[in-house]
């Protein structure tokens, strides 16, 4: 028997990445109306690999093996079916050429098909969460269970939403192509928005399922990297968002302590931040710089850079951060930004000033946990522990997130014990 060890030596997430590559490639060839067939055939190919490789060893080129097996299964089914949904010429072209696939062109082709699908999944005719689910299923190779855990939904809800989204994708006028000309920047914006949402969904702290959530973040980064590597798509915003994600992800290991308790920026052990990611963030931030207008992503990335580069919480360049928040607020006025700005404002101009500003934010925002958590922090800074306690209690009442709740309870107990 050949040595079965190599199945464990296959790189992490190999099946996940390969299945999405093969799916997008075959859908590119057989048309999006055959998406389900392609998905089934790729799933079968994975199952075959799972069954055969431990016995026979991993083939020399596992990617090509998976592609060939899946492709043959699609061809078999299409040939056998009465209703030929795929174009006849495609099939004959395939049969003729499948044995002599040039690996270099195949790589480029796989890449193009992948990007085409990225734009299709993020087509404006498909709405919000459906776009994320399509991306995670088709481009990231996540299973329903993994998506359900990452998005904190039921598996059943994800399955149904995916079926609906797929129907939409198949029936709509969505083309499998990278948009050109003026359309490109608009469509790229949507793709980035989806990736950004994906990252935030993964980054939102949660005591449970930390791993699958991190996966979501790394996946968002991987997709952005693929965009950044394409000469047509290497837009400043793509680099800005990538920089932002690198800086945030550099803190993954320090966001919770050994017991799973949330650690805020001032509590984190900065020596454990991932230097490599911070460096990459710096590189992409540099690539995102351009003359003229600064995008919200760019401003956010710069704020994240200030934190990532600061040797300690006290030595953070709060003045610069405040200036950046001011610009960001103008660009993208929203309460979360306004609230986060208050922390910088407190550091630069004092907490009493920030408390005055907080009243303005309060006036036009709904009750939310962040508002009271920050209010509590500000009262603590000015030494009003009675009010700080009240604010934290409100925040605890309003948050749904266990990790945040525990963190606030901890803060509260610290105030009481002082």
């Amino acid at each position: 028997m050949s040595n079965p060890t190599r199945t464990t030596e296959i790189v992490d997430h190999f099946f996940r990445y390969e299945s999405s590559k093969v799916i997008t490639y075959l859908v590119g060839k057989f048309g999006k109306e055959n998406l389900e067939l392609v998905e089934d055939c790729v799933q079968e190919a994975l199952l075959k690999a799972m069954k055969v490789w431990p016995f026979k060893g991993v083939p020399d080129n596992p990617s090509a093996w998976l592609l060939k097996v899946a492709q043959n299964k699609v061809l078999d089914t299409v040939r056998r079916s009465q209703v030929l949904t795929a174009k006849k010429e495609t099939i004959s072209n395939f049969s003729a050429r499948s044995s002599e696939v040039n690996e270099v062109t195949l790589d480029t082709q796989l890449h193009d098909d992948y990007l085409n699908m990225m734009f299709a999944c993020c087509h404006p005719s498909i709405m919000g969460e459906s776009q994320i689910i399509l991306v995670l299923k088709i481009l990231s190779g996540f299973g329903n269970r993994e998506i359900a855990r990452a998005l904190m939904k039921s598996e059943d809800a994800i399955a149904k939403a995916y079926t609906r989204a797929k129907t939409k994708l198949k029936k709509s006028q969505v083309k499998l192509e990278i948009p050109i000309g003026r359309q490109l920047s608009q469509r790229l914006d949507i793709v980035l928005k989806i990736i950004y949402l994906m990252f935030n969904e993964g980054y939102s702290s949660s005591s449970s399922d930390e791993l699958v959530k991190q996966d979501l973040c790394y996946e968002a980064m991987r997709l952005t990297k693929i965009l950044a590597d394409h000469p047509l798509l290497n837009h400043p915003n793509v680099n800005a968002i990538l920089a932002l994600m690198c800086f945030h992800a550099s803190r993954f290991n320090t966001r919770t302590d050994a017991d799973g308790n949330l650690q805020t920026l001032d509590q984190q052990d900065r020596s454990k931040w991932n230097k490599e990611l911070i460096e990459q963030g710096g590189y992409h931030l540099y690539k995102s710089t351009r003359f003229g207008e600064e995008s919200a992503y760019f401003l956010e990335a710069r704020i994240a850079a200030c934190h990532a580069m600061a040797p300690s919480f006290e030595e953070t360049n709060w003045k610069l951060i405040l200036t950046l928040y001011d610009a960001l607020l103008e660009k993208r006025p929203n309460n979360i930004t306004a609230l986060n700005r208050l922390v910088a404002l407190a550091k630069v101009e004092g907490a009493d000033n920030a408390l005055i500003c907080l009243e303005e934010v309060k006036a036009d925002s709904k009750e939310n946990y962040l508002l009271y958590a920050i209010e509590g922090f500000l009262y603590e800074e000015v030494g009003d522990s009675k009010r700080a306690t009240e604010s934290y209690e409100k925040a605890i009442f309003l948050t749904q997130n266990e990790a945040e709740k525990n963190h606030l309870v901890q803060k509260l107990s610290e105030i009481v014990s002082v």
Partner: protein, 113 residues
């Protein structure tokens, strides 16, 4: 030292539901388990089997697609291992990843001359 055959049955339904990530992890477990058997000098041979096949009866008078007897699980593969006793062979089989998917392993001693 006697030889025993493991016949792996079932687990297909659960396997079909796996995400690519889960499939890869499951495959890695099979690889690890079989590698360990090889390292321990226990593993003799083994092959995976195609799911569908034919059942031939009455010298070919009846040939049916099989071997899907009602309610019975299909054999997905086999291994031949070396052990002193059937109890030992059963013990070794306990680490098999097929149990994760609700499959079974039949352990049979191979008859010698």
């Amino acid at each position: 030292m006697k030889e025993f055959m493991y016949l792996f049955r079932g687990g297909d339904a659960r396997r079909a539901e796996q995400s690519p990530e889960e499939a890869q992890q499951h495959m890695a477990k099979w690889g690890q388990w079989m590698h360990q058997l090889a390292q321990d000098g226990v593993l003799k041979a083994g092959q995976p089997l195609q799911t569908d096949g034919k059942v031939v009866e009455k010298a070919g008078e009846i040939v049916t697609d099989g071997p899907f007897a009602e309610g019975k699980e299909v054999v997905g593969g086999f291994l031949i291992v070396k052990a002193e006793t059937i109890e030992g062979a059963v013990e070794i089989s306990k680490g098999c990843p097929i149990f994760e998917h609700g499959g079974t392993t039949e352990v049979r001693e191979i008859l010698e001359m």
